[in-house]
Structure formats: C-alpha cells, structure tokens
C-alpha cells in the first residue's frame, strides 16, 4: 500500500485581488545594511572617481622599434607620452627628441625616423657643440650601427 503524501498547510484565500501587508507604510524599501566582510583575505579598495575618463594610453613606455635597417637598438628607450591638441607626442626628455602623430603608432614611427636621422647626422659631424656632443654620447649608449 502506497504511503500517503504529506499534507502541507495551506490557506484558501478569498477570490479577487488582495494586498500583501507592507512592512513600511511609506512604501520605500528598508535601508540596506552593509555586510561586514568575513573573508580575511579581502583587500579594502578605495575608488577615485575622476571627471576625466581614464586613458588606455600609458604615460610612459619603452620604445624598441627602431625602423632603420642599418641601425640596432642596444636597449629600449624610455619615452614620455602626452596628448597634444589633436596629436599623440612621444618625448625622449634626456635628449629633447620627440615624435608625433595622430595615433601612438604614427608617433612611434615619426620618433623612429627622427632618431635615425639624428644619429646618422651626429655620426657624420666631427665638430659638435657641448650639448650635441652629450646627445651623441647618450645615443651611442642606446643605438649602434649594424655590422654588415
């Protein structure tokens, strides 16, 4: 003989619409309570809301794409990135060299061309002023001519 199903207590409501009793008469939801984190590994984070949208471009980068077949980079060059009115500007502050373009790629290409031109010109010149002599020395730490 099969066992009888358990009887769950039920209430037969009257026909028609009825309102559920409201806990707060004003109709607003009760104030939410912050739940204290119990996770000991939880790390508190402070969010800074800025009016300026954050940029995906880095403020500094290491340049390593010298597009000159006769030259080779010994080590990456630290560049500062800034945004002009419409252009992206990459600056190597140590020697006051820069490149710019409408995109970061264009700016990097412009910088590469300019740097190669500067390196070659300084190699050609024997008589240089103190400042350009210093620029030449710094450049030689970063760039060398490829052996043929």
């Amino acid at each position: 003989m099969a066992a009888a199903a358990p009887v769950i207590s039920a209430e037969v409501s009257a026909p028609g619409l009825s309102r559920e009793p409201v806990e707060h008469e004003s109709g607003t939801l009760p104030k939410q309570q912050a739940i204290a984190p119990h996770n000991p590994l939880a790390i508190p984070v402070q969010l800074m809301i800025s009016e300026v949208a954050p940029s995906a471009r880095p403020a500094r980068l290491l340049f390593g794409a010298l597009k000159a077949p006769t030259l080779r980079l010994r080590k990456p060059i630290p560049l500062d990135l800034s945004i002009g009115e419409t252009e992206v500007v990459l600056t190597w502050a140590e020697i006051d060299e820069f490149g710019y373009g409408s995109t970061m790629g264009d700016a990097a290409e412009d910088f590469s061309r300019s740097l190669a031109e500067l390196y070659c010109r300084l190699q050609e010149s024997e008589l240089l002023g103190p400042d350009l002599l210093n620029v030449k020395q710094i450049l030689s730490q970063y760039i060398e001519t490829r052996a043929r």
Binding site: F98, R113, L128
Partner: protein, 107 residues
C-alpha cells in the same frame, strides 16, 4: 603653446640654419663650423606643430622663443643666449661684428 609651421620656418630662416629635406625638414645651426643646435618639423598636412618640444630643442624659454618668432631676438642675441647656457662653449663665442662701411663704399 602651439606654433604654426610657418613660424618655425621663420626661426630657421632667421638663424640661417642648415636644412635637409627628407620626410621632415631637419635644421641644424652651425656656429664657427660647429653644429650646436638642431630641430625639425614635419611636412605633414597636420597643422599641429609641437612648439614646446621645438623650443626645448632650441634651448630657449618661452619669451625667448616668442622673440625668435617675432623680431625681438635676433641671431646675435640667440648666440649669446646659447653661450650663456653653455650650449656654445665660451671660447667659441665670437659675436658677429658688422663690417665698417668705408668712405665711398655703398652700404
């Protein structure tokens, strides 16, 4: 601070800088046979010229840079500025002296 390409050209011409036209216009100031300062500007269609970066390459402050674009800083003044800053060695500093006009010679 953005200048126009034409204003950079004024400086290059005023200082009598050597130029080389490639994809960009490269300019070099040669003083007493010695290359002392360089700058460049792009030939691109873009109106943007990073004047502040060019100013740094020319080793001048903002008012001196404005003076180079206008008429207040001439080449001899600029050479003096570079000498004072050590960009030109003091022993290489030879101020340009205008040739004295002899009697009967047309100026």
């Amino acid at each position: 601070m953005d200048a126009k390409a034409r204003e950079i050209d004024i400086i290059i011409k005023k200082l009598g800088m050597e130029t080389r036209n490639s994809r960009d216009l490269h300019a070099w100031l040669v003083h007493n046979g010695m290359v002392v300062v360089r700058t460049r500007r792009s030939h691109g269609k873009s109106k943007y010229v990073p004047a502040d970066k060019i100013r740094c390459q020319l080793k001048v402050n903002e008012s001196q840079f404005a003076g180079l674009i206008s008429c207040s800083v001439e080449k001899k003044d600029y050479i003096k500025i570079l000498t004072d800053k050590g960009v030109i060695a003091k022993e290489d500093y030879k101020p340009e002296v205008p040739n004295p006009i002899k009697k009967g010679q047309k100026p």
